[in-house]
């Protein structure tokens, strides 16, 4: 889902940022298990990182805001397990497997853990030449897809400048809905604060996003 609560840039009312002194890696032991399970199931090829994010974005706003970060991960994981047919609701409720497993691509065993401590690579060979180059003025499209996107609301319709070209990357919008990697050119596009927030905004602020080519048009 696109226009959901996860897309928070520019919202008011959430209050001050409150750093926690000497914050531990995990506040509860189960948080570490959730983080590690997500890694392991990703390695197994059960779903893509974009499907993982998309599942959390389906949480109702009041739920999303009221639960901890790793609980969102856990609920997203449960959602995707059911959706992919890797487990059923009865099994999750009972805490035991009752039906045969579905085959997955591979399994993360202890000897392979070193390999997952490096992030995956998302660069892909370009299927076509880049449409934009550094210095080009571009407008973020005013789009509101009903499925996952990484174009935040606060830049839609606004004009910025291409600052970096990162090559072609896996396109989250299709990867999230099982329609493949569909590599697209990825750009860093920088916006003047006043373009985003109006003439009264602080003139010293510049904000960039990383934007896939399908998010952009010539103004």
């Amino acid at each position: 889902m696109t226009d959901s609560i996860h897309d928070m840039g520019g919202m008011d009312g959430f209050g001050k940022v409150e750093p926690e002194p000497n914050e531990p890696a995990f506040h509860q032991p189960w948080e570490g298990r959730v983080m590690a399970m997500q890694r392991a199931i990703g390695y197994a090829g059960a779903w893509t990182i974009d499907m993982g994010r998309a599942a959390q974005e389906l949480l109702p706003p009041q739920v999303y805001l009221s639960i901890s970060y790793y609980k969102r991960w856990a609920l997203g994981m449960e959602h995707n397990l059911l959706k992919q047919g890797l487990a059923d609701a009865g099994e999750l409720a009972a805490g035991h497997a009752k039906s045969p497993a579905k085959p997955l691509r591979r399994k993360l065993t202890a000897d392979k853990v070193a390999a997952v401590m490096t992030r995956g690579a998302y660069g892909r060979p370009p299927p076509a030449p880049a449409r934009f180059k550094i210095g080009d003025r571009v407008r973020a499209k005013n789009i509101h897809p009903q499925t996952h996107t990484r174009l935040p609301r606060y830049v839609r319709g606004h004009v910025g400048t291409v600052e970096l070209v990162h090559g072609c990357h896996v396109f989250p919008d299709t990867s999230a809905i099982g329609q493949g990697e569909n590599p697209q050119w990825l750009y860093t596009v920088v916006f003047d604060g006043r373009e985003l927030w109006g003439a009264d905004a602080d003139p010293t602020i510049k904000v960039s996003i990383d934007a896939f080519e399908p998010y952009l048009e010539t103004p």
């Binding site: 914050e23 570490g32 590690a36 392991a40 960039s208």
Partner: protein, 190 residues
């Protein structure tokens, strides 16, 4: 939640999808080894080695890989340099994207609604929550990590550190200074 997660892990284990021993190792790595000291070392090296700094700013991933870390850095690391004119700040408004291999797990505040909502609209206000005030003329450059690129801020080297080596400088580099919500420690406080 402990019981619910226990149930989840048991189902996945009994199905043969995951191996709890592998989970143990992942958790342990984040609790003991993977943390901001990796990023701090990269920053300190850049402060002392102009050739390395040039490579770091041109291609963060390649430059960090050349240091041969145990926890190898992923692709698409972009290092952005703070100067007297420009202060960089990193956020992920949509979720929690963060350079884990360089900084460890993101803190709760980085993933929280107050930071994600305000960093792109009122970065000076956010900095004041961290007790930081920048000169009004300083440009504030916010990097919203909306794809799989990851951003690391190269903070300015503190004054009075001319005689220090990489190890001593590493101890001055804080996690928040590499996100852009803090400064390195001063040499006197270290």
């Amino acid at each position: 939640m402990q019981l619910r997660v226990r149930a989840l892990e048991t189902v996945l284990t009994e199905k043969g999808y995951i191996d709890p021993a592998a989970l143990d190792l992942i958790v342990e790595a984040y609790q003991t080894r993977i943390g901001p000291q990796s990023g701090a070392r990269v920053v300190a090296k850049a402060w002392t080695d102009p050739e390395f700094k040039g490579r770091l700013l041109a291609d963060g991933t390649a430059a960090v890989r050349s240091l041969g870390y145990e926890n190898r850095v992923g692709d698409h690391l972009v290092v952005v340099e703070n100067t007297e004119q420009v202060h960089n700040m990193v956020v992920c408004t949509l979720c929690s994207c963060y350079p884990w291999e360089m900084l460890g797990l993101p803190p709760v505040w980085y993933k929280s609604a107050p930071y994600r909502s305000r960093a792109v609209k009122d970065p000076r206000g956010v900095l004041s929550d961290f007790g930081i005030t920048l000169p009004q003329a300083t440009e504030i450059r916010v990097w919203d990590s909306t794809a799989e690129t990851r951003y690391l801020v190269l903070p300015m080297r503190p004054s009075g550190t001319a005689g220090l080596g990489v190890d001593e400088l590493t101890a001055l580099v804080t996690r928040d200074s590499m996100i852009g919500t803090g400064f390195p420690k001063s040499a006197e406080r270290a």
